[in-house]
Symmetry: C3
Amino acid sequence: MKNNFSNMVPLTEDSPKKQETVCIFGTGDFGRSLGYKMMQCGYSIVFGSRNAQTSSLIPKGAEVLSHTEAAQKSGIIIVAIQRQHYNFLAELTEVLQGKILVDVSNNLKINQYPESNAEYLALLVPGAKVVKAFNTVSAWALQSGTLDASRQVFVCGDDSNAKQVVMDIVRTLGLTPLDQGSLLLAKDIENYPLQLFPMWKFPIYLSLGLSAAFFFYCLIRDIIYRYVYEGKDFSFFVAISIPNRVCPIVALILLALVYLPGVIAAILQLYRGTKYSRFPDWLDKWMLCRKQLGLVALAFAFLHVLYTLVIPIRYYVRWRLNGYVISQINSNKTDPFNNVNGWISDSYVALGILGFFLFVLLGITSLPSVSNSVNWREFRFVQSKLGYVTLILCTAHTLVYGGKRFLNPSMYRWYLPAAYMLSLIVPCIVLVIKFVLVFPCLDRPLTQIRQGWERNSSGS
Amino acid sequence: MKNNFSNMVPLTEDSPKKQETVCIFGTGDFGRSLGYKMMQCGYSIVFGSRNAQTSSLIPKGAEVLSHTEAAQKSGIIIVAIQRQHYNFLAELTEVLQGKILVDVSNNLKINQYPESNAEYLALLVPGAKVVKAFNTVSAWALQSGTLDASRQVFVCGDDSNAKQVVMDIVRTLGLTPLDQGSLLLAKDIENYPLQLFPMWKFPIYLSLGLSAAFFFYCLIRDIIYRYVYEGKDFSFFVAISIPNRVCPIVALILLALVYLPGVIAAILQLYRGTKYSRFPDWLDKWMLCRKQLGLVALAFAFLHVLYTLVIPIRYYVRWRLNGYVISQINSNKTDPFNNVNGWISDSYVALGILGFFLFVLLGITSLPSVSNSVNWREFRFVQSKLGYVTLILCTAHTLVYGGKRFLNPSMYRWYLPAAYMLSLIVPCIVLVIKFVLVFPCLDRPLTQIRQGWERNSSGS
Amino acid sequence: MKNNFSNMVPLTEDSPKKQETVCIFGTGDFGRSLGYKMMQCGYSIVFGSRNAQTSSLIPKGAEVLSHTEAAQKSGIIIVAIQRQHYNFLAELTEVLQGKILVDVSNNLKINQYPESNAEYLALLVPGAKVVKAFNTVSAWALQSGTLDASRQVFVCGDDSNAKQVVMDIVRTLGLTPLDQGSLLLAKDIENYPLQLFPMWKFPIYLSLGLSAAFFFYCLIRDIIYRYVYEGKDFSFFVAISIPNRVCPIVALILLALVYLPGVIAAILQLYRGTKYSRFPDWLDKWMLCRKQLGLVALAFAFLHVLYTLVIPIRYYVRWRLNGYVISQINSNKTDPFNNVNGWISDSYVALGILGFFLFVLLGITSLPSVSNSVNWREFRFVQSKLGYVTLILCTAHTLVYGGKRFLNPSMYRWYLPAAYMLSLIVPCIVLVIKFVLVFPCLDRPLTQIRQGWERNSSGS
């Protein structure tokens, strides 16, 4: 709704009443943009600057004064200058006494300084109430009104009244304030806009690496081998046929890797006899990106579905099917219907459809708004129970696809097994271990350990 | 974003400053886990316990004292003990006077006790400010940092300052507090984590029942009948062909059942001449799970689409099409193009595509984050207008699919009509009644009644 | 979760304790419905009315008094009367002194009055604390408990304590209060429920217009032309074949129109040498509905995918393919495999699949809950980088589809080029300009301008 609101407010609107005066230190791009936006929403703006001259860039109607004069005009001072120029603020400690200082700064790198800019500001000006805000909004977005992604403004600070005042300003600008708690969290808020999908990096690099490896593997088996031994040019397979081998393989391996760390953690806990020891770092990190791994797997599965469904409209497939009919006619015999083939063909497709269906369900429940509306028990039911059913269905889909071909020596070109056989290794390992862990003799102690019981504990 | 935040905070981080001391009553699993997490976030923790000995399980750095001593050290006491052991707290009334008591308990069953645990606690310790919180977070999730589903912490309480203090702790732990209002709502908050999709049970059981019934119906008509009379084994139909009959049937019936209660309610209101009488309970419950019914219907429609799109890659279908071509060749004639068949084939497919498209649109608008961003008028437009168009398109899809076959006696094997004919009954009833209700002579009084007018009213 | 909560509370529940007395002015439909709901949640209700008689419509247990008497009984007065009857409230100024007045009114048209109803109320009764709330909830929804879309209650007001009191009532009713800030925002809140997808109108009308135009264009080329010159009746093409030409064309043009305003804005900024001049109004509006344009384009692309995937199950397509095989047999020759055709067929399909895949990704990231969980940098990465890759893939898909046919004169029926050629004009223009803008000699000054630099500036 916020979206519609600010869209409906014409940007040049004259607000009915001036609400209050806000002081902005710094006449750089962000200070000017913020001032411009605030004036549109009815605030009086005073800029504090080293050289107190109104330049053509300053929004019309705003005053430009020296820092001291400007600070005296308002109870709220927005510090829109860079951290390395904060020093002069220490000299203004007296005039800033009891006032609200809003730190809007960002850094260039994650964890650039030992403490956050806002905490540094609070140290410099001990008497002021420092609030961190607005750093997640871009100047360009404020200017143009196209605030699709950045409507949320994270606010933190130690003084709760000061936070309220700042959050009211945020709301008046048509943005959504999110109270993040005390100033301790300023570091997270400052790091936030510098991130570029941190949790997605490992899953995406892993999937790209797997895709490349299997792509070349299939290239060798399906194009180069045939070119060398059969003299046929199947180079156009790189467009659809090979991607349609690579995608399901990567999807199945990634899906299995979602459930592998849980299985490893269970073994570790059983071995250690306690849940209070920390997991190794790599396992912790792996467990934290399981959701992203699963969603990347879903993306590959989605591509596999599309690649599969277009098979009948491919020129090559139509040509081959026609050739098959013509060869039957010419040899004057019709192949009888093979009931086993009918069963295999239909059941591997049906398993794939059901697996993909559950996979999509899992993907939908990991949307933030959906996972927020289920409780812990429901979430575990979906992600654990349904997730394992999905893994079983997808593994079975691949196994039945293999069908009678597993032992067919013609499948081992240059002694290389078909790619789909390699993709079955990880899922089968996960499913076997999980199957073992489900037995009561292992499940019961594991449940106890996860409820806080310790094997070697004397206390409690 | 919360997600990324807490993921980036290393779990072993030494926090820069100790904020304040919080007391936790109880050294069970949840108490220890919460204490451990709070110490990571910079709090000092004092455990209150019957036997004040530090065991190996207590997080390092936390003190363990008697209940009274521990309570004196802090203004906030987290009561991490089970309800049946609350009694001893009545003896501590004096030392707990004016302090904030946080009830984190859960029950084993929904509505286990007449009043909520938090209200019971408030009765036991009248001078304390009781706040309900943290019960939706699992100890295991706190421990492992994998808080995907349970990032939301519902908070309620009668004292607004006490609530603020607790919500600040929640935020510092990297969780999202949601103020639910007064302590009256504690019962709902305590029931919440015990639910397992309460609104989904009826739609899912209904759809499974319908699926099973139609599955056996089709099994008899399509496999057993053919085996008995034609001696052919079509058992592999259970994988794709029969599911692809059952899915659209169940989807269409469920979609009609979404709109049936609205139509019944309109008739009831017209008959009673008022909207202020309550509907019968079954109708109330039915109306409340319409969204879930619709989403289950969408799931079946999605499966139907997948099952339909894989038709051309099935071995059986290819074999039959080849046989058809070969038989044409052998008999040396080519079937001419039948324009009527072209029209019927294309239009029933087109109707299905449009119906599924609108169905997906309806599904997307019922995602929580999407339905939150539309207003009442827009929601009604989509769910009512678009919904009926979807129902009309899907019913027409089925009718045209039937095409000329309705009166074909060969369709009535063992006097059983084809399954799709049965699926048309409910949608047609709904559409006919709705069509009648749209006439002004019925629509006008209905609109008046829904605006508060009463037929038999003298007052107002 | 809210959803589940209020669903679980039976509507006839007797609340354990009466919380407080709330006064409602007005016994119309909304006042009665709200009173009924509040009584279910444990409030005592006093109605203020001109004729203080209890009618049968008033919920049982509620008192009806004169306005003055009713107002004296409570600190909170909900004004459930229409704006044109507000005048009498001015006479009650004394008794309303210091009380909380909740304005729940709506207008019939957007911006019906110069100031909002709530601000008008605050002018009439200067001593009262006016809070705007509840106007987005419908009486019918309150009554029936089916509050799917309208669970959010926007609250604004100048007195922060009064807002808190009202927000607590909202929470107790099982609704979600959203603090919108000061009373200045009442106008937006009052306009909100009157909107019907304001940002979607332009994209939807544009897409319908384009669809109609291209539909008739294809009708002429594919059906009428053939009927006139070849005497064949292809009228059934209107069901699938022509929609499957129109959908991809409209999708591609709309997708290009998403990126055209950004390109125009860049040219304008380069020409003006500043980002501080406002864009023309049409450009501003265009930029604000880019998200909606993109989603409508995605809908058309989705339809195109469905229409394409059903091709092999169409009767016409099967008949034509069979005819092709039979003609090969009869002429006793088999067409050899054409490697170029294999490449073209597979690569245009593969480009389409990848384009659609990225398009779906873009659509998912524009879901409110997803776009709220990414920061500005991530959002720009997805919407700008991925968006352009999508546009390139989709344009390439269309170009390769054209393949060798571009210069084939048989494609120019009645001198009309094939429709897909027309669809390439806008995307190619956008991509060419974007390609030029990426060159450093233009990209560098543009980046500087967007960081606040001005070509003709002396100050700063």
